[in-house]
């Protein structure tokens, strides 16, 4: 049985605790990397704010080809930075060779 987590700045993630997700307030990417390493095996899905995700992209890529955890960027209170969409485009690029669905 896995848990579902949310990682990111406090303001963005606290709301999720009430709906039953495990919140992990993190501000610094370096801290996020450490935390991610230690909890990666307990979580099936980790939602991460785009702002934090862009700071620890290299670490997130390591989990790309593993079935668990799925690390999914979501917009935080700071707004939508497009990191999430870029992540999808990256999959297309990897599979096709170029981003043919870009718009």
């Amino acid at each position: 049985m896995y848990k579902i987590g949310v990682m990111g700045d406090k303001d963005s993630v606290y709301g999720f605790s009430s709906v039953g997700l495990t919140v992990m307030p993190v501000d610094e990417p370096s801290e996020g990397i450490r935390l991610l390493k230690s909890v990666a095996d307990d979580f099936a899905v980790i939602f991460i704010t785009e702002k934090l995700a862009s700071g620890m992209d290299a670490e997130i890529q390591k989990y790309r080809e593993r079935t668990v955890p799925a690390i999914i960027p979501i917009p935080g209170v700071a707004g939508n930075t497009g990191v999430g969409m870029k992540n999808v485009s990256r999959s297309v690029e990897q599979a096709v060779g170029s981003d043919i669905l870009a718009d």
């Binding site: 049985m1 709906v19 939602f47 799925a70 917009p75 209170v77």
Partner: protein, 217 residues
């Protein structure tokens, strides 16, 4: 393309022909696998983009509610209200095999069935905007899980497609031509040996005839 370092013998030739056959069959299978994976991937990635657009808009919406709540309530009050959640969500991960890619399927479970349990605080002491934010988040949760499932599947499939494409290309442009050329090289060498042997025999025959009937020449 380089010819492999092998002895030009009949045994080697038979071996190579068998290997070439296997390579051709593998190439065809892998090509089919790549095409089918690609088709599914394109379907899924379109859905992924669509879903992500929708989810991102709704998360932004929930965040807006939260921002308003934050402006009318103090940070400590909000933290206190949300600190002890009643609801707990866990997820069972099943794996589904799609063209040898194991994609995850999530089945979520909640600790309590009661929908009202998403509000772990008393309504008297908190702003209604906090209720709005929590409710909005709870509403998008199924979509968020779906997004996670699809996005992970896309990532896994993309990796598999890349791998398969490499294998197809390696077979098509390296292995198969190499086998073909080596087979050609060996059969030519064997034919050459055969011709050499024929001429030698003819020559020997001539010499023997000359010995037997010296007057004829």
């Amino acid at each position: 393309m380089a010819v492999m370092h092998v002895n030009p013998t009949r045994m080697e030739l038979t071996n190579l022909k068998r290997k070439l056959n296997t390579a051709r069959r593998g190439h065809k299978l892998l090509k089919d696998k790549r095409d089918e994976l690609m088709r599914r991937f394109m379907e899924m990635v379109r859905e992924n983009k669509e879903l992500r657009r929708r989810v991102e808009a709704r998360v932004a919406d929930a965040n807006a509610h939260m921002a308003v709540a934050r402006s009318v309530m103090s940070d400590t009050a909000i933290e206190a209200a949300l600190m002890m959640p009643m609801q707990e969500m866990s997820v069972e991960v099943a794996e589904k095999n799609v063209m040898s890619v194991l994609i995850p399927q999530y089945r979520t479970e909640f600790r309590t069935e009661d929908n009202a349990d998403i509000f772990p605080y008393s309504f008297a002491s908190t702003s209604t905007d906090l209720d709005g934010a929590v409710e909005a988040l709870s509403d998008i949760l199924p979509d968020l899980m779906k997004l996670a499932e699809i996005e992970k599947s896309c990532q896994l499939m993309a990796a598999e497609i890349e791998k398969t494409r490499r294998r197809v290309n390696a077979l098509e442009h390296v292995m198969i031509p190499q086998y073909e050329e080596t087979i050609k090289f060996i059969s030519m060498k064997l034919e050459e040996n055969e011709r050499g042997a024929t001429t030698r025999i003819m020559k020997v025959k001539d010499m023997m005839l000359k010995q037997a009937h010296p007057q004829a020449y």
